[in-house]
């Protein structure tokens, strides 16, 4: 299977000397195209830090990151370009822009990625239809439920046809029913778009749907469970 992202000996330290906290400690990991990867672990185990490094939001203290065969040179490369073109994000707190409608929240991501006008609007409508929000296009986040906001967030993450979507505890702020619905949505989007999903979660239900599960403790990968490939 094609490797999309490869992190080699990744380390992320915060602070200096006796104050040093090692959030990610010598982690090597690869993520394949179209794979649904679940990252589990206790709070503070380094899951979010690892996904931030893999998603090119955070620069590691040491180690190498290869995305789609190209090694990231942090000194010369504009990381925002990679985030625009290759990566999508879904956040725990939804993080929709409050003054934009659901449609605009998806369109803005396309505008940033260079798709504009009617093309962007049509594509945004299509994505929102896929997440079941065709009837809520012109609603602002404050007019949507938590589950609906997270669906918009998933539509936004797919706006620029990324190679991979990183979802950071996407169900943590949702009730059980909405969580289950979002789990189904993740699986369906992963299979339909053939986009890799790396989901940080504590929700055991997603284990059933995942292709691979990795567990982290104290910044290290301690366990890897491979199930099936999508």
């Amino acid at each position: 299977m094609e490797t999309l992202i490869e992190g080699i000996n990744l380390v992320k330290q915060y602070g200096e000397d006796s104050e040093t906290v090692v959030a990610v400690n010598d982690v090597s990991i690869s993520i394949n195209a179209g794979e649904l990867l679940v990252i589990m672990g206790e709070s503070g185990s380094g899951k979010t830090t690892l996904t931030s490094i893999l998603g090119c939001i955070l620069q590691p203290t040491s180690g190498r990151l290869i995305i789609n065969g190209t090694e990231i040179d942090y000194k010369t490369l504009d990381l925002s370009l990679i985030r625009r073109k290759s990566v999508g994000f879904v956040f725990q707190l939804f993080n929709l822009i409050p003054y934009l409608t659901a449609l605009d929240n998806v369109t803005i991501a396309m505008n940033i990625g260079g798709i504009k006008g009617q093309e962007a609007e049509n594509k945004a409508k299509e994505l929102l239809a896929q997440v079941g929000l065709s009837e809520r296009l012109n609603h602002r986040p404050s007019q949507l439920s938590g589950g609906e906001q997270q669906r918009v967030s998933f539509a936004r993450s797919l706006a620029n046809d990324p190679l991979i979507v990183f979802a950071d505890e996407p169900t943590a702020n949702l009730d059980s029913k909405n969580s289950a619905s979002i789990m189904d949505l993740i699986e369906s989007l992963c299979r339909k778009h053939n986009t890799a999903f790396a989901v940080v979660t504590h929700d055991m239900r997603l284990r059933q749907k995942a292709d691979r599960i990795i567990e982290m403790t104290d910044g290290r990968l301690i366990n890897e469970e491979r199930k099936n490939s999508c």
């Binding site: 985030r83 994000f89 956040f91 003054y99 940033i112």
Partner: protein
């Protein structure tokens, strides 16, 4: 999709409107201050330039030696003693010398003491309107309604001149009314329009003898003598030559020098504070816009973090904020210009806003506010996209 920056502004419209109003008020104040200084400058120049224009050739203004001119210090001249100057080289032979009194006074107008400038001159000489100015649209003293005062016929100390005055319409007096000057009633026989000295001080034109009889307590002196240069003769040369004629000891200034003296004494010096205040207002405008932009961006830290996390570059964030700053400032500047133009009509002293002034104010205000906004936007662009994850 309408631009994100417009949607953001629409979402926070109360704040945007308040910012626009703040900028507009400051721009209005800046323009009114500038307009006030313009009006002062115009008024400071008006009388001297009018006399220069009336003479057609150059005029030399004589005053007591080292007085710095009538407009800056105390000057008293014996006009008869200076009569010899009419024979000097370069002096016009038709109207060689024009005795003049230009003095601040406190006449009683409509029962109230008001400030005014009394201009005493001889009809037919330089210094004030003449008969031919009544119908001459090119005359610097046009328009004149009514008639001019009766000229005095005799110049001795016992003589009582015709008690008549031509006033500027700013005094609010009508023809036939009376104005009291140094306890003596003068009948208004004519009116001029727009002849004011600095701070909207109206001019009262009277016969020279009337001026001596009132503001100089009947002393038969003048405070200025105007020497008209003959055609083709340079007024600066004439002024230089008069200063060297022995034993006459006077200050001799050209019209341009007198204008500079008036501007220095009545406009530049008193307006120093206003100019400084104007500069401070500009800084305040920039700071207000920068602070509001900065405070707004602080509130939007998470939004900016999210935009950066989904791929927005620093340039995108800066441009989004700068567009808001530019639009807000532009709206504030336009509103400020409109408010200034409207309020100038009701301002207690004359305000003259030129066409160029709003343009300059707009350019400087937009530049200052853009710089303030840019500093805030640069700061906003440093937001770490990690904030999108857990809000910290």
């Amino acid at each position: 999709m309408r631009s994100i920056f417009l949607k953001d502004m629409a979402y926070k419209k109360a704040r945007v409107v308040l910012t626009i109003i703040s900028v507009a008020c400051l721009v209005m104040l800046i323009l009114l201050m500038g307009g006030m200084m313009n009006a002062l400058t115009m008024q400071a120049k008006d009388y001297v330039m009018s006399v220069d224009k009336q003479a057609k050739t150059g005029v030399v203004w004589l005053s007591t030696e080292r007085s710095g001119s009538t407009f800056a210090g105390f000057s008293l001249l014996d006009s008869e003693y200076l009569e010899v100057l009419k024979l000097a080289k370069g002096v016009d032979k038709d109207i060689p010398l024009s005795p003049l009194i230009f003095a601040q006074a406190r006449p009683i107008i409509n029962g109230k003491e008001k400030k005014a400038i009394v201009v005493g001159y001889k009809l037919g000489r330089l210094g004030g309107p003449s008969e031919q100015d009544i119908n001459d649209t090119t005359s610097p003293f046009y328009p004149i309604t009514g008639r001019l005062f009766q000229p005095s016929e005799y110049e001795g100390p016992e003589y009582t001149p015709p008690a008549e005055v031509v006033v500027d319409e700013k005094t609010g007096l009508e023809i036939g009314q009376t104005v009291e000057l140094s306890g003596k009633p003068l009948k208004v026989v004519g009116k001029t329009k727009g002849h004011l000295f600095v701070f909207d001080t109206p001019l009262l034109f009277v016969d020279l003898r009337t001026a001596q009889n009132t503001v100089l307590s009947n002393v038969l002196y003048v405070n200025t003598m105007l020497v008209k240069a003959e055609e083709g003769y340079n007024e600066s040369t004439l002024a230089g030559e008069i200063k060297n004629i022995s034993p006459i000891r006077v200050d001799a200034h050209t019209g341009n020098q007198i204008v500079k003296i008036i501007l220095a004494n009545y406009v530049d010096e008193p307006m120093k504070g206003v100019r400084a205040l104007r500069a401070l207002l500009w800084i305040a405008t920039g700071l207000i816009v920068a602070m509001i932009t900065y405070m707004t961006t602080l509130e939007k830290t998470r939004e900016i973090g999210v935009l950066k996390a989904i791929g927005a570059s620093d340039k995108y964030v800066i441009s989004m904020i700068l567009k808001q700053v530019l639009l807000t400032t532009l709206a504030g500047v336009i509103l400020g210009i409109l408010l200034a133009v409207v309020s100038a009509r009701f301002f207690p002293i004359m305000v003259s806003i030129s066409l160029r002034e709003p343009l300059i104010v707009a350019i400087i205000t937009i530049a200052v506010c853009s710089y303030g906004g840019y500093v805030a936007a640069k700061r906003a662009a440093t937001v770490d996209p990690m904030i999108a994850f857990r809000g910290r």
